[in-house]
C-alpha cells in the first residue's frame, strides 16, 4: 500500500499543479469567442446588425461612457431608468425589433473579452459552391437527336442506292447491254418483302407485339401521375431544408398532424427563418425574394401588400376517394417516406407513388397494426370479444392483425 502511495504522490502533485494553472489561465483570460457564442450569438452578430446591433465598434461608440455600457449589458432595465441619453437612443432604435435585451450575468472582464472578440472579428472567406446552380427543369432533347440521326441515315440509304444504280448502269454500258430504268423505292421494298415471306411474317409479328405492349403500358399509365414534378413558382429545395438542415417534414407540413391534407406551409412559416436568411446556397437571393414579395416584406417590416404564391398541386386524388394524412401519419404511424420517397434528395415536390387503388390495397393487405398504439383498437377489440370471438380467433390465426382484417378492404373505408 505504502509503495503505491509513494509512486502516486508525484503524479498527484503534478496533476494539481497543471489543474491550477489551467483554471488560473482561464480566469485570467476569458474566452471572448466562447462567451459570445453562449450568450450573445442568438441576437447579435460581430459585424452585422441582426436582432440587435453589430457588436463591432461598440467600445468606440460608447467611448467615455463605458460604465453605462457595462450596466446596459448586465441590467438593461436599470440602465434605461438612469435616463442616460445614449441608452435611451439605443433602446428607441432597437426595441421595436427585439424588445429589451436579456440581462447578462457576466463580469466586466468577460464583457470586455466579448467586445474585444467582436472588434477583432474577421468574417470567414465565402465558400465557393462546387458545381454551380442546380438545374431544376431537365429538358428532354433526346428525340431531336434521334430525328436528326434518322434523317441522316435515310439520306445515306438514298445516296447509296443511287450510287449502286449508277455503278450497275456503268457495268451495263461496259458490257454493251441496254440500260434499265431504276426500280422505284417502294416497289423494290415490296419485291423484297414478297421474296422473304417468312422473315416478313416474323418482323410483322414482332412489330405488332411490341406495339401491343407499348399501347398496353400507355393505357395503364392513363390517370397515373407517378413522377409528376411540375415547375413551381419558387425553386424550393427539399434537399437543403429537410436534408442538410434536418428540418422535420411536419414542421412545414404541419397539417399532416391534424387534417386530411399535409398542407403547403403558409409563407409565415418560411419567415420563421427567412426573416434573417435572405440568401440561399443554391439560388442566392432570387428565390427567397419571391417569399418577401408575396408577403410584402421590405426587409424590416410588412408593407401590407400581399400576393399569393400560386403553387401547383402535385398529388391529385379523384373526387371519389377519401384519404387522410392524419389517419396514416398519426394513427397508423406510417413514415412519410413510405409514400413520398426520400424527399431529402429532391428539389420541389414530386409524386413518388402511383396513387392507384392497387397501390393502396397492396399496403392495406400486408400492413400490420400495432394494437397497443391507439385506444381506437381497444374499442375494436372489445367489440370483437363481445360479438365475434370466432372472428377474432380468425384474425389471430397467423399471429398478426393487418389493416385488411380490420376493414381496410371495405369499399366504404375510402369511398364515401
Amino acid at each position: 500500500m505504502n509503495t503505491i502511495r509513494l509512486i502516486n504522490k508525484p503524479f498527484f502533485f503534478l496533476f494539481t499543479i497543471t489543474l491550477f494553472f489551467t483554471v488560473n489561465a482561464s480566469f485570467a483570460q476569458p474566452d471572448g469567442a466562447k462567451l459570445f457564442k453562449a450568450n450573445c450569438a442568438a441576437c447579435h452578430k460581430p459585424d452585422k446588425d441582426l436582432v440587435g446591433p453589430a457588436l463591432k465598434g461598440a467600445l468606440e461608440r460608447w467611448e467615455g461612457n463605458e460604465e453605462m455600457l457595462m450596466l446596459w449589458v448586465k441590467n438593461p432595465q436599470k440602465a434605461l431608468e438612469t435616463g442616460d441619453q445614449q441608452v435611451k437612443k439605443l433602446y428607441d432604435e432597437w426595441s421595436p425589433k427585439g424588445g429589451m435585451m436579456t440581462p447578462q450575468s457576466l463580469n466586466d472582464e468577460e464583457i470586455m473579452a466579448v467586445f474585444a472578440y467582436a472588434d477583432a472579428y474577421a468574417p470567414p472567406a465565402p465558400k465557393v459552391e462546387q458545381g454551380g446552380k442546380i438545374t431544376y427543369v431537365k429538358q428532354d432533347d433526346s428525340w431531336l437527336w434521334l430525328a436528326v440521326l434518322s434523317v441522316l441515315l435515310i439520306t445515306a440509304i438514298l445516296v447509296l442506292r443511287s450510287v449502286v444504280n449508277v455503278l450497275q448502269n456503268a457495268i451495263r454500258i461496259e458490257k454493251g447491254e441496254d440500260l434499265e430504268s431504276a426500280i422505284p423505292v417502294g416497289d423494290s421494298i415490296g419485291n423484297w418483302l414478297s421474296n422473304n415471306k417468312v422473315l416478313t411474317f416474323f418482323i410483322t409479328l414482332f412489330i405488332v407485339i411490341a406495339l401491343f405492349i407499348k399501347v398496353w403500358d400507355e393505357a395503364l399509365a392513363i390517370g397515373v401521375y407517378e413522377g409528376y414534378k411540375p415547375v413551381q413558382p419558387i425553386e424550393y429545395s427539399h434537399e437543403v431544408h429537410a436534408g442538410k438542415l434536418e428540418i422535420e417534414c411536419v414542421y412545414c407540413h404541419s397539417g399532416a398532424l391534424q387534417s386530411r391534407t399535409a398542407m403547403i406551409p403558409s409563407a409565415n412559416v418560411c419567415m420563421n427563418c427567412h426573416n434573417a436568411v435572405s440568401e440561399g446556397p443554391l439560388t442566392g437571393t432570387e428565390e427567397i425574394q419571391k417569399i418577401y414579395d408575396a408577403l410584402g416584406w421590405d426587409g424590416s417590416a410588412y408593407t401590407g401588400e400581399t400576393t399569393p404564391i400560386e403553387w401547383v398541386k402535385v398529388h391529385n386524388l379523384p373526387d371519389h376517394v377519401y384519404f387522410s394524412h392524419q389517419q396514416h401519419y398519426v394513427v397508423g404511424d406510417v413514415d412519410c417516406t413510405e409514400c413520398h420517397g426520400d424527399m431529402t434528395k429532391e428539389t420541389v415536390g414530386k409524386q413518388n407513388a402511383k396513387l392507384t387503388m392497387a397501390w393502396c390495397l397492396e399496403c392495406h393487405n400486408t400492413m400490420e397494426i400495432d394494437i397497443n398504439s391507439s385506444a381506437y383498437y381497444d374499442e375494436v377489440h372489445n367489440r370483437l370479444l363481445e360479438h365475434g370471438e370466432e372472428e377474432l380467433k380468425g384474425y389471430l390465426e397467423d399471429g398478426k392483425i393487418t389493416v385488411r382484417e380490420l376493414g381496410g378492404f371495405e369499399c366504404s373505408k375510402c369511398h364515401y
Binding site: I189, I222, G223, Y251, N275, A276
Partner: protein, 209 residues
C-alpha cells in the same frame, strides 16, 4: 404486290403510332387524364385554383374567430391569449401565465414528440442550441436551455415566445395549438432542468384540486 402493300401500310401505321406514343417531356403535364369529371371535384378541394375569387379554398379566418369545440376539457385552449406582442407583456406573461398542463411523465413524453417535430432542428436534441439548422448553416444558434440566459426562464415567457416569437425565433402559433405549446413547454422545462423532472408545487396543488 397487293400483299406487299398491306405489309407496307401496317409498317407505316406502326411507325406513326410509335412516334405518337413516345411523346414525353413536359414536366408541367401530369399525363393523360381518363374521365376528367372524376378528378375535378364539385366539392371545394384545397389548393385548387377555381379561377373564381368567390370560390377559394384556403382562407384566413375572420379576425377574432374562436375555434369551436364541444369538448369542455379543451375549451379553455381556444380562448384568445390576452397578452400583446410587446416587451411589457412578455414580462407580464412571465409573472402571470402558468401552465394548465401539469408536468407528468406522460406530458413530458408527449412534449418530446412535439419538440422533435418543431424545435429540435434549431434547439438541438438536448436543448443546447446545436440542432441541424445552426450546425449546418450560418444561422445563429439559440441559447442553451440550461445556460445563463434561459436556466430560470418562467414558463409564461416560454409560452409568450412560442406564440409571438422573440429575437431570431419566429412565431409558431400557426403550427402549434395552445395545448401543443403547453405540452412542449413541459419537455422544455425538463431539458432546462438538465433532463430531470421538475417537482412543481403549484402544478401538483392544482392537480389535487
Amino acid at each position: 404486290m397487293k400483299l406487299s402493300k398491306l405489309y407496307r401500310n401496317i409498317g407505316l401505321a406502326s411507325l406513326a403510332l410509335m412516334g405518337i406514343s413516345c411523346g414525353e417531356g413536359d414536366p408541367n403535364s401530369p399525363g393523360i387524364e381518363y374521365m376528367p369529371d372524376m378528378y375535378r371535384s364539385p366539392s371545394i378541394e384545397v389548393y385548387v385554383d377555381y379561377e373564381n375569387p368567390s370560390v377559394s379554398s384556403v382562407r384566413v379566418p375572420v379576425a377574432g374567430t374562436i375555434v369551436f369545440t364541444s369538448d369542455e376539457a379543451n375549451e379553455m385552449y381556444n380562448y384568445p391569449y390576452p397578452y400583446a406582442d410587446s416587451f411589457e407583456d412578455y414580462e407580464r406573461a412571465g409573472l402571470e401565465v402558468t401552465s394548465p398542463i401539469p408536468m407528468t411523465e406522460e406530458t413530458v413524453e408527449e412534449g418530446k414528440v412535439i419538440y422533435g417535430n418543431f424545435c429540435l432542428h434549431c434547439h438541438g436534441k438536448s436543448g443546447q442550441g446545436d440542432g441541424g439548422v445552426p450546425s449546418n448553416s450560418e444561422y445563429p444558434p439559440p441559447p442553451a436551455y440550461d445556460g445563463n440566459n434561459l436556466k430560470n426562464l418562467p414558463e409564461g415567457k416560454m409560452f409568450h415566445t412560442i406564440t409571438y416569437g422573440k429575437g431570431m425565433m419566429g412565431s409558431h402559433a400557426s403550427q402549434l395549438s395552445k395545448k401543443d405549446r403547453w405540452t412542449v413547454i413541459q419537455y422544455v422545462k425538463y431539458l432546462q432542468n438538465g433532463g430531470k423532472m421538475v417537482a412543481d408545487v403549484s402544478n401538483e396543488a392544482s392537480v389535487e384540486e
